[in-house]
């Protein structure tokens, strides 16, 4: 328990370090938020805008000002969407990304775990080959290809589902499939490897030697340990999925935060980038911590001191 408290205590300095790095990298990139095709009418206007957003101050002072605001819960204004604050934008987009990511997560585990388990249980038989083939197929074909194919077939050819947008539950199906299929392949492969490794363990041999039937051995004894790689993968996976996907959100015109992850850095929208980086880092760190807790629950041999 004290181990986890220690880990939790480290979260804060770690996040601070991440914010420093993100800020420094952004400042190193050439071009600024207010460089556009059309120049502001006068140099005074550009200066006034930059002064308004404190871009005329020394970089360290800008950082301190920013992080001071964050500590009070104020992530600052967006430089790109000047009527919105970063908090406004995240509050609008995050629920959408979480819903989509949660669905995709459920889909990846829902397909991946049974598929991997099934392949391992039928190792060396046609079932294994089919299962493994499907898993590899899912991993090899990127969302950039799966998405348009699904749209072409289900939405344009047969008109079963909408092509894009985010207004009704029907609009959720294609993005979820596009986002989830790839990860279900990854999960299936992890699950299969985990099972195969576990089946060579001595306690499995012992269980079989006791005369337990195959089903019981696989489900009761092997699964619990074999699933560990999937569990440790789930942490970063969930962090990834919940913060949205640039490709899927772009393809289906979904108002999540994934699009902002990429665009805000292209737009040099400094507060927006750092806000999102902090959001992602917090999720990742917290979920990894939870994964480790889950580990010790599933595999009693794992102990943290």
């Amino acid at each position: 328990m004290s181990y986890f408290l220690k880990r939790a205590a480290f979260l804060f300095p770690l996040l601070l370090l991440i914010s420093v790095l993100a800020f420094a990298l952004l400042k190193l990139a050439p071009g600024g938020p207010f460089d556009k095709e059309r120049a502001p009418a006068t140099a005074e206007i550009k200066r006034a805008i930059e002064a308004k957003y404190h871009l005329d101050e020394p970089v360290w002072q800008q950082y301190l000002r920013y992080i001071g605001g964050v500590l009070q819960g104020d992530f600052g204004p967006s430089f790109k969407y000047r009527n919105h604050t970063v908090t406004d934008i995240i509050a609008q987009g995050l629920p959408v990304s979480v819903a989509l990511g949660g669905m995709a997560f459920a889909l990846s585990l829902g397909i991946g775990i049974p598929l991997g388990f099934w392949s391992a249980a039928r190792r060396g038989q046609w079932g294994d080959y089919t299962g493994s083939f499907l898993a590899i197929l899912a991993v090899c074909v990127p969302a950039l290809v799966v998405g348009p194919l699904l749209v072409m077939g289900l939405a344009i050819q047969w008109r079963l589902l909408p092509v894009a947008l985010w207004t009704s539950p029907a609009h959720v199906i294609l993005p979820t499939l596009t986002l989830g299929l790839y990860f279900s392949g990854r999960v299936a492969r992890l699950m299969r490897e985990g099972m195969l490794t576990t089946l060579h363990e001595q306690y499995i041999v012992t269980a079989r030697a006791k005369g337990l039937d195959d089903t019981t051995v696989l489900l009761k004894h092997a699964l619990r340990i074999a699933i560990l790689p999937v569990v440790s993968y789930s942490g970063p996976l969930l962090a990834d999925l919940l913060t949205g996907s640039f490709i899927v959100e772009n393809l289906f015109q979904i108002p999540g935060v994934g699009v902002f992850m990429v665009n805000s850095s292209l737009n040099r929208d400094y507060p927006m980038v750092i806000g999102l980086v902090l959001l992602y880092a917090t999720l990742l760190l917290v979920l990894n911590l939870l994964v480790d807790v889950g580990y010790s629950y599933l595999d009693r041999r794992v102990k943290y001191d």
Binding site: A39, N83, A106, P169, T215, H221, F252
Partner: protein, 565 residues
């Protein structure tokens, strides 16, 4: 290590082994866990229902292009933003949809002094905010002062510089008469009474009434902005002066407008609910349009260029000329482009017709002049056409026969498929015709714009869209000190011609002066080389959608558009 079978293993058993063999142990708690697990998908479905919102369908759905940075008329700078904002906030005039000429809006009539430099506007007495308060001449004064205040950060503030005192105030100049900086009161805009406004200009400005329809000059609600600051557009109900009110604005989802029932012209607003979809992906835009989820696409960038050969022939594809020029800039401060002969050689070597046929493919008009045709009485001069023989001769005269010893140089463009194709094509043209080797330099947009402004390039891809229907919108940007010049070139004669032209009251004389200026720009000095005029493309079914007309400014007032039920 005995363990209790859990719900997951139960489920896996059902999935993988048939017939299911009962596991030892367990009991009621297990079947409960199993049931709970089976309920998970339903829980997810509920979550989903909670996260998608079902709004009533709109009467008109428009695919509009990139998400607006802002909906504040003073702040916006792109056409996609202006299309929405013009429906929300009106100025003294507005542009009608057939020929994009100015018609009365908040002002129902105006008087002009004989020399054309003083306007007196008479405001409608029935013009009110969508929240009911009257719109007065004081509101106009405040809105214009706000746009000119550098703190507002209005990139288009220069649209107001034709008003006496405006530029002096905005640039923080010192008033010689008082010895103090110019104040907002020094701007020559006065409210004579709640419904009369007097505006004094620096000279007769032929296009001033067009400017009054421009969003930067629109009237905005002072009481609301002073109360809510930067977030005034996110606080409902936003008081608007235009034909529509802002129903909601969800980033990357849609901007929804609702008919403004209090508008002075409410009887002629034809659609109740209008959705603007902020879509950047051309494939997604076309898919939505083709499946009927969107009614209109009005940007050529929003249909895949590869499909234009096919789509261009359909009856729902409407092409038209509009005020936009694709060109490239020379950095005239960098050798060897300091030599006008080199610049001319580069211009003469380009076969523009071939570029248009091969790359853009939507019926763009190749051009050697910078300002498009069709703006009033203005007749643009001819620049340098395609003459590779002459090009080689000039390059040899400049000291580089056959491209020998021509120093390495680069072509700067932003990461964009079309821009890259153009770059590759120009690279090949100049290698073949002039024997020079050009490097291509793609940069992400922000880096590209900042490099262009800082003159950190040799040649650079450029484009310009006219803001109003007058050659000045194209020509004044190359005056010395203009932030959009970005070539390092300046010529006092050019600046003088533009200034003198804008003081002219006789349209023909003015056009002749501007023509002289443009001749300097594209024939004598050549800091830029025009390539083609953009073709506007709108997609809509003419049987279903009424009220969209082709015009030079690509101006389509929302309130005139209606979808047949």
């Amino acid at each position: 290590m005995p363990t209790k079978p859990n719900a997951l293993s139960q489920l896996l058993r059902a999935f993988c082994f048939s017939p299911p063999a009962p596991l030892s142990g367990g009991g009621k708690s297990r079947s409960f866990a199993l049931r709970a697990f089976c309920l998970l998908p339903f829980a997810f479905c509920l979550l989903l229902l909670g996260c998608t919102r079902s709004d009533p369908p709109a009467d008109l759905v428009l695919v509009n292009g990139a998400e607006p940075d802002s909906l504040d008329p003073a702040i916006i700078s792109t056409q996609t933003e202006m299309r929405i904002v013009k429906a929300l906030f009106e100025g003294l005039t507005r542009l009608e949809g057939k020929n994009a000429t100015a018609e009365p809006a908040i002002a129902h009539r105006w008087d002009m002094s004989p020399d054309g430099s003083i306007y007196t506007f008479h405001l409608r007495t029935n013009a009110v905010w969508s929240t009911g308060q009257p719109i007065t001449a004081e509101d106009v004064v405040w809105s214009w002062r706000r746009a000119l205040d550098p703190m507002t950060g209005a990139e288009y503030a220069s649209q107001l510089f034709f008003i006496k005192g405006a530029e002096d105030y905005s640039t923080g100049k010192t008033n010689a008469a008082t010895g103090k900086p110019f104040t907002p009161e020094d701007i020559a805009v006065r409210a004579l009474d709640p419904h009369t406004l007097r505006v004094e200009l620096i000279g007769p400005t032929a296009f001033f009434l067009d400017l009054c329809a421009f969003p930067t000059l629109a009237v905005v609600p002072r009481f609301w902005i002073e109360k809510h600051g930067d977030r005034w557009l996110l606080q409902q109900p936003v008081p608007t002066s235009g034909t529509y009110t802002l129903e909601f604005w969800r980033l990357n989802d849609r901007v929804r407008l609702r008919r403004n029932a209090r508008h002075w012209d409410a009887a002629n607003i034809r659609s109740e609910l209008v959705d603007f979809l902020p879509i950047k992906s051309s494939t997604t835009a076309l898919n939505l349009y083709e499946t009927g989820a969107a009614d209109v696409i009005w940007d050529k960038n929003l249909v895949p260029n590869e499909l234009m050969d096919v789509l261009g022939k359909r009856p729902d594809c409407h092409k038209f000329d509009y005020l936009g020029t694709y060109f490239f800039r020379f950095n005239v401060k960098r050798k060897p482009f300091t030599d006008v002969r080199v610049r001319k050689a580069f211009a003469l070597a380009v076969d523009r017709q071939k570029l248009v046929n091969k790359i853009t493919r939507s019926g763009e008009t190749p051009t050697s002049h910078f300002t498009p045709k069709g703006m009033g009485v203005y007749e643009p001069p001819d620049g340098w056409g395609y003459d590779p023989e002459q090009a080689r001769k000039l390059l040899a005269e400049a000291g580089f026969p056959g491209g020998k010893d021509f120093p390495p140089f680069h072509y700067l463009f932003k990461t964009d498929k079309l821009d890259e194709q153009v770059g590759v094509e120009l690279q090949e043209i100049w290698r073949k015709e002039l024997g020079v080797k050009m490097e291509l330099r793609a940069m992400e947009p922000k880096v590209y714009y900042s490099a262009q402004s800082a003159l950190d390039y040799d040649l650079s891809r450029s484009s310009w869209i006219g803001d109003y229907n007058d050659p000045n919108t194209f020509l004044d940007m190359f005056m010395a000190g203009n932030g959009n010049n970005r070539t390092g070139w300046s010529n006092p004669a050019y600046d003088n011609l533009i200034r003198t032209a804008n003081l002219q009251t006789d349209p023909k004389k003015r056009a002749a002066l501007l023509r002289q200026a443009e001749t300097l720009l594209i024939r004598d000095d050549l800091p830029i080389v025009p390539l083609w005029f953009y073709a506007g493309v709108n997609f809509y079914d003419p049987k279903k959608i009424e009220g969209i007309h082709a015009n030079l400014l690509d101006e389509h007032p929302i309130h005139t558009i209606q979808k047949q039920k």
